[in-house]
């Protein structure tokens, strides 16, 4: 357990000190979202109707930018070798790194989403639902992303490949996340059932992500 905490602490510390990755993701998110009103024109009704979708898709793309670095840095400087000789299995190493990614990348993105909602004339009643689905849904982004990052570790130009691998896996989270927000803005529709589906996807990712990522890392260890 203390090894897990040590690794998580180190990853958070590195994430905060490097900062550039999170900064780039936040900047990308801001640019993508603010392009929407410019592209679609000042139709406030249209904007507020598509706001949940734009906010979710933009967040997924922004998070995607940061995924390739999840294991790359540790593989390049030999840290991954030494980590794998540690007291915990690679699955837990992956889990610690995914949690670190979630805390240093997804949480800042989630916090900026409500601010960006202003640009899209998001309905006032949708804000709590937006915050709730993002917080509960983004762990799946980091966990499934870890599997993609591990699979493309040794691939040259893995960035595009990772998008092809991982974005389809984000579809359930995306669909139910937006459905939950829409249910609040335009009844009928059940917020709870969609919200629980988002939660379920995150819980399934909690199991699948680390297992898949650890298997991929082992296969590339040689």
């Amino acid at each position: 357990m203390s090894a897990f905490i040590a690794l998580l602490r180190r990853d958070i510390m590195l994430g905060l000190r490097e900062g550039a990755a999170t900064g780039t993701a936040l900047g990308f998110y801001l640019v993508v979202v603010s392009l929407m009103p410019l592209g679609l024109g000042p139709d406030l009704n249209l904007l507020s109707r598509i706001a949940p979708g734009v906010l979710w898709v933009g967040l997924l793309l922004a998070a995607l930018l940061t995924l390739p670095r999840m294991f790359e840095a540790d593989a390049e400087d030999g840290t991954l070798d030494a980590l794998s000789l540690g007291p915990m299995p690679l699955e837990l190493v992956v889990l610690a790194k995914a949690i670190g990614h979630w805390l240093t990348t997804c949480i800042p993105l989630c916090l900026s989403a409500p601010i960006l909602g202003l640009l899209l004339n998001l309905e006032l009643s949708a804000y709590p639902a937006l915050a709730a689905t993002l917080l509960v849904g983004t762990p799946a982004v980091s966990l499934l992303g870890s599997a993609g990052a591990a699979l493309t570790l040794r691939a040259r130009k893995g960035g595009v490949l990772i998008a092809l691998l991982v974005l389809p896996l984000y579809i359930p989270t995306l669909i139910f996340g937006i459905a939950a927000i829409s249910a609040v803005v335009t009844p009928p529709g059940s917020f709870t059932s969609s919200f629980l589906m988002v939660t379920a996807v995150s819980l399934v990712s909690l199991v699948i992500g680390p297992l898949a990522a650890a298997a991929a890392l082992r296969a590339q260890m040689g």
Binding site: A6, R10, L14, R17, D77, G78, G86, M221
Partner: protein, 207 residues
Amino acid sequence: MAIALTAENLCIERGGRLVLDDVGFTIAGGDALVVTGPNGAGKTTLLRAIAGFLKPVAGQFYLRGGDTERDLGQHCHYAGHLDAVKSRLSVAENLAFWAHYLGGAPGEVTNALAAFGLTDLAEVTAAYLSAGQRRRLGLARLLAVERPIWLLDEPTVSLDEESRSRFAALVRVHLAAGGIAIAATHVDLGLSPVKTLHLSITQKAAA
């Protein structure tokens, strides 16, 4: 019981080529094994196989007298070509992380820094270290956390004369305490007496 590591009939394939063909050795606590051979003979491959990063296609490792709760890799320190040093962390933070992660005693970090002459650099960010200082920080992990088997891949690259003899002395202390050191190297590490395992390049394609 003293620790002993035996490898039997080891065959390891890399990229469709049999790099190690029927290699075996036995080494007991207190001994150093120096692995020599030309470039591409499989020195690094052998060390990585002992650490468990590579699975041999045939052959076995046997560890006697180890901790039954842990596998072979968890008895090992692997000091390879890469130093496992994070540039954004200070020297002390780097080593403290490894001590914490690998389960070393907290006091050992200070001792390990002192042993490698890094005490004055403890607060320096690792990005500003020279290649030799980085390497010393990477090797300091061996002392910060006690493990019986040291796998050393060209450990003295970019070390100056003084650091090299200091490192040799530390390896001798490790051996005297009943540890094992397996080093792949082209240069004399200043350890004696040592067992030598000479690898030559195998020509066979993997079956």
